[in-house]
């Protein structure tokens, strides 16, 4: 048993080392305040999504973010994962236009989207996207929580991190800091100058469940939605994980007992 403990210490050490590495990266360079950390329903080994929250988050995305940000790799049919019925998804999809074609006359055309369609792109191409957004293409949001250190906390903080002017602590950090024209100040964005203007003003969306649309509420909902968009497998994964771990722990216990039984006379 003593050796076992030593082995697990070694493993923990190795894990700790790589953790150190990850932490070092996360700290990588830019200062700014610590990320906000609201409580998320999808955290922990029993984590689940909250369907009402996801639906509200989808409403924020559809009413605000969709005009600039794509959700690549996703299809309208995926919205059933939010708890919408097949018919509701058909209705939702029909509100968006997608490009199709060529038709029998060789022409491209637009038509209302159907569930198997990929989400409509906000811009026809990157050049147009840049033109509309001060030279920066608004990034795809469907992997966003996986693609930033801090994940959901980062996205949430970013949405709420806007300030009217440049706060004093920034000048203490860097006396020469000046916000370039066309950019907004965001305390959580690396370098603080972001090309996305503030989005979540009081009442920016109308929730169909009547929830009051405060900036915090919208930020939380849209972040939960984006987390789901990035990890749609999360609930299945954690559930399968709980059963697998339980099985492995019991099975390994049995193996240990059996091993001791076999080795009993060999000592």
């Amino acid at each position: 048993m003593k050796t076992l403990i030593r082995i697990s210490t070694a493993a923990a050490l190795a894990a700790g080392l790589s953790l150190g590495g990850t932490a070092a990266q996360a700290a990588g360079g830019h200062g700014g305040p610590e990320l906000m950390h609201p409580s998320w329903s999808f955290e922990g080994i029993y984590g689940r999504y909250n369907e009402d929250q996801l639906k509200r988050g989808w409403e924020v995305y559809a009413q605000v973010c969709a005009s600039c940000h794509p959700l690549d790799y996703m299809h309208y049919r995926n919205l059933e994962g939010l708890g919408y019925t097949e018919d509701e998804v058909k209705e939702i999809a029909a509100q968006f236009e997608v490009r199709d074609g060529p038709d029998e006359w060789g022409e491209m055309f637009t038509r209302p989207a159907t569930p198997p369609d990929a989400f409509a792109e906000p811009y026809e191409n990157d050049a147009l996207a840049k033109l509309a957004n001060g030279g920066v293409v608004p990034p795809n949001l469907s992997v966003m929580t996986r693609a930033r250190d801090g994940g959901a906390d980062y996205v949430y903080s970013l949405m709420l991190g806007y300030e009217g002017g440049v706060p004093e602590w920034v000048h203490e950090e860097d006396p020469d800091f000046a916000l370039p024209p066309g950019k907004s100040f965001n305390a959580y964005f690396p370098g603080y100058a972001i090309s996305m203007p503030e989005q979540l003003f009081e009442g920016a969306v109308t929730y169909s469940d009547g929830t009051e649309a405060t900036p915090e509420q919208m930020a939380k909902d849209v972040t939960a939605f984006l987390q789901w968009a990035a990890e749609p497998e999360l609930e299945d994964r954690k559930e399968l994980g709980r059963y697998t771990l339980l099985f492995l722990i019991v099975f390994t216990g049995v193996l240990y007992a059996y091993k001791r039984e076999i080795w009993k006379d060999a000592h």
């Binding site: 590495g21 990266q25 996986r146 492995l248």
Partner: protein, 413 residues
């Protein structure tokens, strides 16, 4: 040792095959009655664990390859498709990703186990050397695999590592272009990396067989470092070590499952979920944790070519270990001074790992140079000298003598 009589097969099909090609007899002799020292401790579990990790990687990899598209415009999206639209694709991918870490952890423990117990000494030099080669091919495989998802870190790691050849005098530049199949990392690079990433694991698999062949010829070393002399020193591999390995596998799978299901991206860099963009260099280019010690050695040298050479030597020097270590005593257990230096090396290795993740600036650079210097000093100064100066403790007569004397309580645990 294999004085056991060959088995008599009662099943007629087995008998038929075995008479024409004694594969069942071979398996029986090598996996069932194979005489293993009776005192192997849990550090001896990591070889078989690494082997199982390799098999898991090959299986999950073959399934990934059914959907993966090695094209610069489609690779990233194809991974997302695996994660979203392929049934249990996320599971297969997360198993593949996290088993790499398990594989390297096992192999590192396996290597350091060998260093502590002197497993590289005669007559096991070849066994050890094949192991070092396996490790080198593993490094290559993991590097190639990391490029496949075509994220930002994939692309820039590929760029940094392939340009290591450019400082080679005369041919460096041309060599880089030849490796890339272009004037920088591009689609041709991705395709050849995929091809090689599929090939290398098969090479490792073959090398593992050579490794085992050598092992079964010289037989396992053991915590006492004294050779097996009589039957009482051994236990049949089955059921003793099959059960012990099975239990160890259970523990490893628990750890693996924890990461696969609850922290699947823990060892990954977030930025690798941003598609590769040759126009945008990430702020920090950091390799996977298992490459960090060697990355630190690479960066310890101000001269690029020197760094590359030193990094290569830092692994190649393991090949010379059987001759650098001049001590007559095999196991570290009977070498009071060596023990200390062994753990210092482990600490040094951990420091290098940590430094590999730090930016190459200020105090980190100096620390990296000292840690690198110590790493090499261990092999070319300390080990050869220790053999001369160290006063070793008496080595027991035989394994069974030590076990019955209770001398080796822990080893038989």
């Amino acid at each position: 040792m294999s004085s056991t009589p060959n088995p008599v097969w009662s099943n007629r099909a087995i008998k038929w095959v075995d008479r024409r090609m004694p594969i069942f007899t071979l398996m029986y002799n090598e996996l069932v009655v194979y005489p293993a020292p009776r005192n192997l401790n849990y550090w001896w579990n990591f070889g078989s664990l690494a082997g199982i990790a390799l098999v898991i990687l090959i299986f999950s990899g073959i399934f990934l390859a059914m959907y993966y598209v090695p094209h610069e415009d489609m690779a990233f999206a194809s991974i997302e498709r695996i994660m979203r639209d392929v049934n249990y694709g996320w599971l297969i991918r997360f198993i593949h990703m996290n088993t790499v870490s398990l594989f390297f952890l096992c192999v590192y423990i396996h290597i350091f186990r060998g260093m502590y117990y002197g497993s590289y000494k005669a007559p096991r030099e070849l066994l050890w050397g094949i192991g070092v080669i396996i490790y080198l091919v593993m490094v290559g495989t993991a590097f190639l695999g990391y490029v496949l998802p075509w994220g930002q870190m994939s692309f820039w790691a590929a760029t940094v590592i392939t340009s290591l050849v450019t400082p080679i005098p005369w041919v460096g530049e041309d060599l880089a272009i030849w490796l890339w199949g272009g004037f920088g990392v591009n689609n041709a690079t991705l395709q050849r990396f995929f091809s090689l990433h599929y090939l290398f694991p098969m090479v490792i698999f073959a090398l593992v067989f050579l490794h085992l062949w050598a092992l079964h010829t010289t037989k396992s070393n053991n915590p006492l470092g004294v050779e097996v002399k009589k039957k009482a020193d051994t236990l049949p591999f089955h059921p003793y070590y099959t059960m012990k390995d099975a239990f160890g596998l259970g523990v490893a799978l628990i750890a693996l499952a924890f990461f696969v299901f609850f922290a699947p991206n823990y060892f990954n860099h977030a930025i690798n979920y941003v598609q590769a963009d040759p126009m945008v260099t990430p702020e920090h280019i950091v390799p996977e944790w298992y490459f960090l010690p060697f990355y630190a050695i690479l960066r310890a040298v101000p001269d690029k070519l020197g760094g590359v050479v030193l990094m290569f030597l830092s692994i190649a020097i393991w090949l010379a270990l059987p001759w650098l270590d001049t001590s007559k005593v095999r196991s570290g257990r009977f070498r009071p001074l060596f023990k200390w230096f062994f753990w210092l090396l482990v600490i040094d290795f951990c420091i290098l790992t940590w430094l590999g993740a730090m930016p190459a600036e200020g105090a980190y650079v100096t620390m990296g140079q000292w840690a690198t210097a110590y790493y090499f000093a261990h092999f070319i100064l300390i080990l050869p000298l220790l053999g001369w100066f160290e006063k070793t403790k008496p080595v027991p007569e035989s394994i069974s003598a030590a076990v019955t004397a209770g001398h080796d309580k822990e080893a038989a645990a």
